[in-house]
Point group: C2
């Protein structure tokens, strides 16, 4: 009963040594390639078998009606769903008239490697057809970071021991059949044949272009491909197609030692406005540029781009090879999600799957951007510029809801609210403060005053106005925000959620301060000094419910008076609770899906004393079931802060391995961007103790047993700092930029190019006993465990090789 780990643990790559068709959908997500504009799931070149075929373009969606058993005012009438666009990665192979299909014949070996330095997915297969014809197939796939519209595949076929007739068909296919959706509400709605053909032409030079549009959202997509082919004399190439297929067929006869090589360049463009001819020409031009660069050129640019990224972002972990791999895997996917955004959102699953319908949530601002801000800040700016671009929609939504300012959607692609369940959607107004916090964080980290003025200020002003519309003063002069939903989705529509109130407080203050810094711009937005004063007053009076008897903050007012969930009588199969218990029961009890008050203690740490943090952490730890992937990393950060280092380490493991181990059983729908960010957060904010605000970069490094060294890089205000944490001390050095004063366990020190070492402070707090709900304890982290990577169920027979 050996459990097969799907992936080999290596520092710079994710390697699958055998093909496990039972976890195909999961590996397609893990091996997805993207540049933030184009996303290709790691589907096999030949298209079948597949878990979920997927080719996505950022913000290319179709509308679908949102039905309600009982309608209500302000409910969104239509939702948006990411579209599986024209598949350009299809390359089919016939060997002596037998189609290459791993389900038939004999697969002697099969390896896939995601190379995080090269930015490529390499596949090597050796296969015999049912009639015994044996070939070696190698493909290398990339989605270019430097050519935003372009992806490419180098595909090579070699006979092993006998001459073979080989036919390769390189295709563009639209409206692929996708499997029916599962009942899991976190999966996507299925769209059947969402693309309407507008054009399918094979032009000269073997360039094929197809243009489609969507029915309801009226978006147009163009896809094109062209090829460089290298084969023995007599290799014949034909181009045909029709309907939703476009095909280049290459036929040749290969002797052992000979090889057919195909470099396939494919390009995409989409627009809500541009004409069919314009879109056609756009992809043809992208293909011309790609061909000019050539396969080798694309690969070289890809590596250079990544070298630059890793130089400023890499995290090195000694003593735990799994976490080392996982944190790089996370950073790589974050970069893929954000590299070439250009004012488009980062979805919860990036462009790696259709989970959550391809929607972007607050996760982006609260988990993904805090990493990007200090490692690849351009992506943070891009994502926030997208928020600024949808401000008119958010303002219209606020007006529809009878509010002022802007009410950003809980989930969206195009900026309009897609949430069909308001208590966990519309009511979760904290998304607006999360956006404001991301603005403040980005501006603090970059000192990008142009951004602050043009993008940040409008966002801060609009969100501050929302909080003024949402709150009111009570008879005691406290500023209350009633009836909203915080991050914990097992509570909803409660009064004075501490997280929301603290984040709103910071939102209001930031708006006032930023408006005063850009008075001329603020005036154009109608901001008066009176309004700014009101923001400060509301912020100062914000109400934070606190239970004196228990000595803890209440997640929301009245929370600690509720019955505690009956954890003792909840069985392991009943998690996640939301699939087994009604919201009614979850909402009225003390049970926490994901860090809420604990997240407030991370993001607004200065509002709590160390003693409050320790007491609150212990209290909420006993209630938190982590039915969300957005929880473990935050718990890691606070566990580290209160000195529970082993616990923090366990949570780090959970956050880091969410997708490589498919811990929540839905990696099939795409990887979890926020949890991938969580590995960095747990390491850097957790064990590095990094916090930054108001120009101050603070560290409180402390390592758990098992991690022998942690080295990370942080970009801050034009500097690139390298922090090297050892069990007993930490060494700071600037790799770039002028000297910077930072804080180490509260001690100020100015760091420059010369390394400066300091001893780490011991855990400062008396150890409160901390426990989790029974059965929900995180798996203790024991580096060197044999099991690693995505686990293939043992009851499945091992793949024949």
């Amino acid at each position: 009963m050996i459990k097969h780990p799907a992936f080999i643990v290596e520092p710079w790559s994710v390697r699958e040594c055998h093909l496990h068709t039972d976890v195909l959908a999961q590996t397609e997500s893990v091996f997805a390639l993207s540049n933030g504009h184009i996303g290709l799931r790691g589907n096999l070149d030949e298209g079948e078998p597949f878990g979920l075929p997927g080719t996505y373009l950022n913000s290319f969606y179709e509308l679908r009606p949102l039905p309600y058993a009982e309608a209500g005012y302000g409910y969104p009438e239509s939702g948006q769903t990411v579209v599986n666009v024209t598949n350009g990665k299809l390359i089919r192979l016939l060997v002596d008239d037998e189609p290459f299909d791993v389900r038939y014949g004999t697969l002697h070996s099969h390896e896939r490697v995601l190379d995080m330095r090269a930015g490529t997915l390499i596949r090597k297969a050796c296969w015999s057809s049912p009639t015994g014809a044996r070939v070696r197939v190698t493909s290398t796939r990339l989605v270019s970071f430097t050519h935003r519209a372009v992806a490419a595949i180098r595909y090579e076929v070699e006979p092993v021991d006998q001459p073979l007739n080989v036919v390769v068909q390189s295709e563009l296919v639209a409206n692929e059949t996708v499997p029916p959706p599962t009942a899991d509400p976190r999966a996507a709605a299925a769209l059947e044949a969402p693309l309407v053909l507008e054009e399918n032409v094979a032009a000269r030079n073997n360039v094929c272009v197809m243009v489609h549009s969507t029915r309801a959202s009226r978006l147009r997509v163009a896809a094109g491909m062209r090829h460089e082919i290298e084969g023995p004399d007599g290799t014949r190439v034909e181009c045909d197609g029709g309907g939703n297929v476009s095909r280049v067929t290459i036929a040749t006869r290969l002797a052992p030692g000979e090889r057919l090589r195909l470099d396939k360049f494919f390009a995409y463009g989409w627009s809500a406005k541009r004409s069919r001819p314009a879109m056609h020409d756009q992809v043809v031009a992208a293909l011309a540029a790609a061909r000019l660069t050539g396969w080798d050129g694309l690969c070289a640019e890809q590596r250079a781009f990544l070298d630059d990224f890793w130089a400023g972002a890499d995290v090195e972990v000694e003593g735990d090879a799994e976490v080392q791999q996982a944190v790089r895997f996370g950073l790589f996917h974050l970069l893929q999600a954000g590299a070439r955004l250009e004012r488009r959102p980062i979805a919860g699953k990036g462009l790696t799957g259709s989970g959550y319908d391809g929607h972007a949530f607050w996760d982006t601002e609260s988990f993904v951007l805090p990493v990007m801000t200090y490692t690849y800040p351009r992506a943070a700016a891009d994502a926030l510029m997208w928020r600024e671009s949808i401000l008119p929609l958010a303002q219209a939504r606020a007006e529809q809801l009878g509010l002022r300012g802007a009410a950003f959607p809980w989930r969206t692609i195009n900026g309009e609210e897609c949430s069909g369940y308001w208590p966990a959607g519309t009511a979760a107004f904290h998304v607006n403060a999360d956006i404001a916090a991301a603005v403040t964080r980005y501006v603090d980290a970059t000192e990008d005053t142009g951004f602050e003025r043009d993008v940040g200020l409008p966002l801060l002003v609009a969100t501050a106005r929302l909080w003024c519309a949402l709150g009111h003063h009570d008879a005691d002069g406290r500023y209350r925000i009633d009836g909203v939903t915080g991050p914990d989705e097992y509570s909803a529509v409660a009064d004075n959620n501490v997280f929301t109130n603290l984040m709103a407080q910071r939102n209001l203050r930031a708006a006032a301060e930023t408006a005063v810094r850009h008075l001329d711009r603020a005036e154009l937005l109608g901001v008066t000094l009176e309004e700014a004063a009101m923001w400060r007053d509301c912020a100062a009076a914000i109400f934070l419910p606190y239970d004196e008897r228990l000595g803890v903050h209440e997640q929301s007012e009245g929370f600690t008076g509720h019955a505690v969930w009956d954890f003792a009588n909840t069985t392991p199969e009943q998690y996640p609770l939301l699939l087994h218990f009604p919201y009614f029961d979850l909402y009225r009890k003390q049970v926490v899906k994901q860090a809420d008050l604990v997240l407030a203690m991370h993001l607004c740490g200065e509002a709590f004393t160390p003693e409050q943090k320790a007491r609150n952490f212990a209290y909420y730890e006993a209630l938190t079931v982590r039915d969300s992937s957005l929880s473990a990393c935050t718990q890691a950060v606070l566990a580290a802060e209160v000195g529970q280092l082993d616990l923090a380490y366990a949570y780090l493991g959970e956050a880091a391995l969410m997708d490589l181990r498919d811990l929540e059983h839905n990696t099939r729908d795409g990887v979890h961007m926020a949890s991938l960010a969580g590995a960095w957060i747990a390491l850097v904010n957790g064990f590095g103790g990094m916090r930054a605000h108001d120009g101050r970069l603070c560290f409180a490094p402390r390592l758990p047993q098992g991690i022998t060294r942690l080295t990370f890089r942080v970009r801050y205000r034009g500097r690139l700092a390298r922090v090297d944490v050892a069990p007993d001390g930490t060494t700071y050095r600037l790799l770039h930029g002028s000297p910077l004063t930072v804080s180490h366990h509260g001690e100020e020190l100015t760091i420059g190019a010369q390394p400066q070492a300091r001893r780490n402070a011991p855990p400062p707090f008396p150890d409160l006993p901390v426990r989790q709900p029974p059965g929900r304890e995180p798996t203790p982290r024991r580096p060197g465990d044999l099991s690693r990577g995505l686990v293939v169920p043992a009851e499945q027979p091992a793949e024949e090789v």
Copy 2:
């Protein structure tokens, strides 16, 4: 710009003197006939024009999927919708080859009269065809109170001034086309052709029978008709049909002074179990019985049944003819809804329309049964026996929700939950306590110990267990019920709703007391003395939130800390608020849709001091917008109790005239049973000050300016009491039964067959200033107003006559 009142005010009838086709749907509801088993809307005999064609059988429904934009655990997957069954009331007329249709030719006169003593709807029309052929048509329609399965129509045609060829077609038609549904969530889902034909035969004796079944709910309905025809010699009768139509055609030639008379008997039966032949035979037998009784016999039985009802239920109001008519109209419709229930529910609209999909709600137990209990108690018993019959479904629902005991559905036909929005459905658990209160009330009023043991005890035990599952003790030992929704639908999912907690308290106590009275039966239900003790303990510790600063009870915990709704900036067109503002905003503010705490003060009055009642009433009065028809009568009761007699009178008017004036603009979908009950409640509980519990019948009579005398009858513990309230004093008399001790303004007196007079006490409370939200003041009641009845919009041209 004269506004046309649709109805003439008469003490015992509702008379429409002209046909107003623009309010046809409303008059169809007002003129609906029913016996609680069969319901016929007041559609014109000839079927067209119509507002909404409707023929209903109690509990005959079809299933439809309930869609959700975002699914959740425990959401009902299918809803039930009342079916418009085979229409048996169709009688078409051709006069010299021209169809009688009021939209063509000339309608010289048209009158419809609902006779509340005869139990009939009489229609008289005089019409000339486009070619000038003039006829007089008279039809009298009844749904028999004594023959549960039978309805009948006497239809007469006479030429006025010249001999005419007359053809009458009497039909059964299934799957009539119904108009598309409106966007109003309170209307019904439209079912297209819900009936599948199983049989359509014309047997001997001109008996036609059609049997249909529904696709999903698998219910079978049989409809049959037979005729007695009286016409001149040469009158020919044919019977034909096919598909979903069955037709008897009568052709004759009438000279002036001659008449064609048709007595149409039609009968219905439905079953989930019985076979097609059994159902066929069942309606044939019902028709045979009806024919044996004959038209005159049916009419005589109908009148005798009503004479008996009115003798025990009539309310006489002097000084306000409109209210006099309205209270009788209300009682008449209540009787129609409940007379022949036989363990079926009373729906929110009875069987008068498809509003609310034909569902039954808590309205029945909280508004309708409190009237029936003291006027026609058999209907209350029947409705509660229906609840007992669906107890297994309610227990299964509780189990599904992770609770114990029974969780009765918020809205249903067959006993399964149909609510597609849980915060205003599932979370409104008070429905369970409302059922328990109805049991307690019925048993108190009737001393029906058999019912108490066999029906009441299982209901009380199952609901008490629910409250034990829903509540918990807090650190102060208070028993809390968190996260539930009270009657006010502008708040939801709140902690410790006072109404719910008080009703739960009474539910728990009643269960304990009843269990002790029937220990043997209780044991069979698994009740131990320990469990009963726990019920008492929970009841004793129940928490009632009270705002010390304001000196008022909080509707729910924290309610008075919320922002007050911005009434000043809410325009008249923005009511009802739920159609113009999101639930999000309504829930988080102090705004009350309908009496909630005020209803608690009515139903659990002994939990409040007189001073609390006055203060609470004033506080909530300023927040209550009455966007529900379930509010005015309760406000009338409390206004009367706190001495605001003019205000009580205004609310009486609103409750009483809800349907006769279409005050909420949805009488088209059926009349409002609870509001119709509200006229009685406002008069008897309000101005009569009647309360009853624990064998004590109390009165505190007091009349407003305008009502010069109020006389009502109350059935209580085998007695029939007559209470005659004059401005200065009240006279009590038993019409039936042994002497009874009652209370008059706190003074005990024993009443018997001899009248006993007492002076009325003056209003006992200091007048607190009471105001309503601006623009939401009730219309002051000025008896003798010219406007009366359903008002036809003045912009419509008067109907040509």
